[in-house]
């Protein structure tokens, strides 16, 4: 059973939870395990002059493939790239009005968005510490703008709590922290923590709790001005007459606990979700486009790889036209950087050793769904003062993302109406696109009743139906990593693999970048000593 996937362990599952949701669940877990992997990017790569005439064939023009191609070309290698799609970028992808997308099964969607509106079906954010991908974004001259992960005025929502009424993130967090601080203060004063805290530290702890939880002079999280500075007011302070702030009523701890909404207020605490985060202006796909332009003559599009064969002297790759099929053509080079997703690569004949093969065969790809919904007006801004950020819900759509550009525009806007993983995403993939959109509208209208009047058109991408990935990203378990990860990454003869699946930052573009840089560094070393 060596090529069977291994069930996820705690660590891999938790990292997945963090990657996909920016969720509190990850934070709760991280505090226990302290297990965040950081990028290994250490600045621009410097490869020496390669042997004269040395050549590399790169398979896949996604982020990993294009980073590899660009750096190898710059070093002096003769580089060629084969890409399945008719565009560069891979999962770095933006859908604009006028685009047509056909998923497996032949379901075709024509995106009806207005000019300037878009949705990123794949990655949508660039954390500040992902310095590898940020390096290339800057090098390519792609403009960035801020991406807000945590919006204090967005909602946390559960159909099972507060009669299904969405709550403001700000209020929930303030009331939860405040009452925890109050409880802990009481416990401290009662001496229950004397074993853990010295007499001197006790006073400091009480001050800290007062500060952290916005408690009053009596160490109570009371309905008053202190709390209002965190949770907001029933009526905000203002200027002139009739400007006295009116405090709101706190949500009681037992209601908070029962609601389950506490689980949504840790978003933004996880390393990958902390400010600052960026997004490319005009969509994530601008990065792929810029890469493609920079590599223009090297990339051959619409090529479906059907065999990868290495010999003593070179690597020969057979490919057919991805649209029309036909007789395979071949292309060869001294070396090969293969960034084809493992889900696809596992089905392509390739003469590598057993360990690499076993590694490729045991990476299932995760289910994910994104739905873009164009609304006639930006009611979330105009009616509810929500500018960017994310609302979390216990419904299958999981998240609602608000557009992070064109704030205060009087025009239209595209909401990310659903961003879910696992079970709800599998269920969505089994439905036709129009039903996925209908579902997203149904769930979303429980939070924003304006949906029904304002909706114009949508597009839904279920990643298991994406023809060139068969899923959204490689799903690693801790056991599988221990057993197979090094074998996946190790060079096999003249072939080396790269991509987010060959990284410890799965599903993030930073994983693709750092994996590609590591792969070509080892390839180069081997080429120099060959």
């Amino acid at each position: 059973m060596t090529d069977q996937p291994l069930a996820p362990s705690r660590r891999s599952l938790l990292s997945m939870i963090g990657v996909v949701a920016g969720s509190a669940a990850m934070y709760h877990a991280m505090t226990e395990l302290a297990l965040a992997d950081t990028s290994t990017f250490k600045g621009p790569i410097k490869l020496s002059q390669p042997p004269s005439g040395a050549s590399v064939l790169v398979l896949g023009a996604g982020i990993a493939g294009m980073v590899a191609a660009m750096e190898l070309r710059d070093a002096g290698y003769k580089v060629q790239v084969l890409e399945y799609n008719g565009r560069p970028g891979g999962r770095n992808w933006t859908l604009y009005g006028g685009d047509t997308y056909t998923e497996l099964g032949g379901f075709t969607q024509k995106v009806q968005f207005d000019a300037g509106q878009y949705i990123n079906p794949g990655p949508w954010r660039l954390p500040y510490h992902h310095q590898g991908i940020l390096h290339y974004v800057n090098r390519l001259g792609v403009a960035l703008e801020p991406f807000t992960q945590v919006n204090y005025n967005a909602y946390v929502h559960s159909t099972d709590a507060f009669d299904g009424k969405p709550q403001r993130y700000r209020t929930l967090q303030a009331d939860f922290y405040g009452q925890i601080a109050e409880l802990l203060s009481k416990t401290t004063k009662q001496g229950a923590l004397d074993q853990a805290v010295t007499q001197q530290d006790r006073e400091i702890l009480l001050d800290a709790l007062k500060d952290w939880g916005a408690l009053d002079a009596n160490h109570q999280y009371a309905t008053g001005l202190e709390a209002g500075e965190r949770r907001g007011f029933a009526s905000d302070p203002g200027g002139g007459l009739n400007s006295v702030p009116i405090a709101g009523k706190r949500i009681e701890m037992n209601d908070l606990l029962k609601s389950g909404l506490w689980a949504a207020i840790g978003a933004g605490l996880a390393y990958d979700m902390q400010s600052s985060i960026f997004q490319p202006k005009g969509g994530m796909g601008q990065v792929g486009k810029a890469f493609g332009k920079a590599l223009e003559p090297l990339i051959q599009y619409n090529c479906k790889v059907v065999e990868i064969k290495q010999g003593d002297k070179n690597v020969e790759v057979s490919y057919i036209d991805s649209r029309t099929g036909g007789t395979p053509k071949t292309m060869s080079a001294d070396w090969c950087v293969c960034t084809i997703p493992a889900s696809v690569l596992s089905q392509i004949p390739m003469n590598v050793g057993g360990p690499m093969k076993a590694a490729i065969n045991q990476i299932p790809y995760m289910a994910a769904l994104k739905v873009g919904l164009q609304m006639k007006r930006r009611f979330w801004e105009q009616d509810e003062q929500i500018y960017g950020g994310v609302t979390y819900t216990n419904q299958p759509n999981t998240m609602i993302g608000y557009p992070q550009w064109d704030f205060f525009s009087k025009g239209k806007g595209v909401l990310l109406g659903s961003y879910c993983f696992g079970t709800p995403a599998y269920i969505a993939a089994a439905k036709p696109p129009e039903e996925r959109i209908k579902d997203a509208l149904e769930y979303g209208s429980k939070i924003h009743p304006q949906y029904k009047d304002e909706f114009e058109c949508g597009v839904a991408v279920a990643w298991h139906r994406v023809p060139w990935t068969l899923g959204c990203a490689g799903f690693w378990t801790e056991e599988a990593r221990a057993k197979h990860y090094d074998n996946l990454c190790a060079m096999d003869g003249r072939i080396v693999l790269a991509g987010e699946h060959a990284s410890r930052i799965p599903a993030w573009q930073e994983g693709a970048v750092t994996s590609a840089l590591d792969a070509i560094t080892r390839l180069h070393k081997k080429a120099m000593s060959a």
Binding site: D3, P8, S9, V20, A21, S343, F421, Y426
Partner: protein, 139 residues
Amino acid sequence: MTIRVAAGVVLALTATAASADTAGLAPKPNARAASISGFFSPFPFQGGEAIYKGVCQGCHMPDANGAVGAGAYPSLAKNENLETAAYPVSIVLKGQKAMPFFAMQLGDQQIADVVNYVRTHFGNKYRDKVKAEDVKMMR
């Protein structure tokens, strides 16, 4: 294959048992109603046809003929690999290549039902039935 993750450990709002316990995330009783929103939430379908249409056809397609892109989803129609029932049971439980494992999202009866459904539909005519106990033994 070992199953070491609680089905209750799921995304944000469905994570009533979100914090990991050191014993390897043994399932915890969940006081709240089951939700389908979590990463490994159970699929809410009963009966082979409902499970096939609710889950499997996402990749294997409504007609079970599979699909071809850069890679392919195999056709389950008139599929001789289904002759030995243990094979599809094992694939559904443990996955294989691009096929994810469903051991955590589907119960024994659900897996038996959907395997029986596929083995008697789409041009497949295998008469022997898989029972929930058979699936349990293969976990």
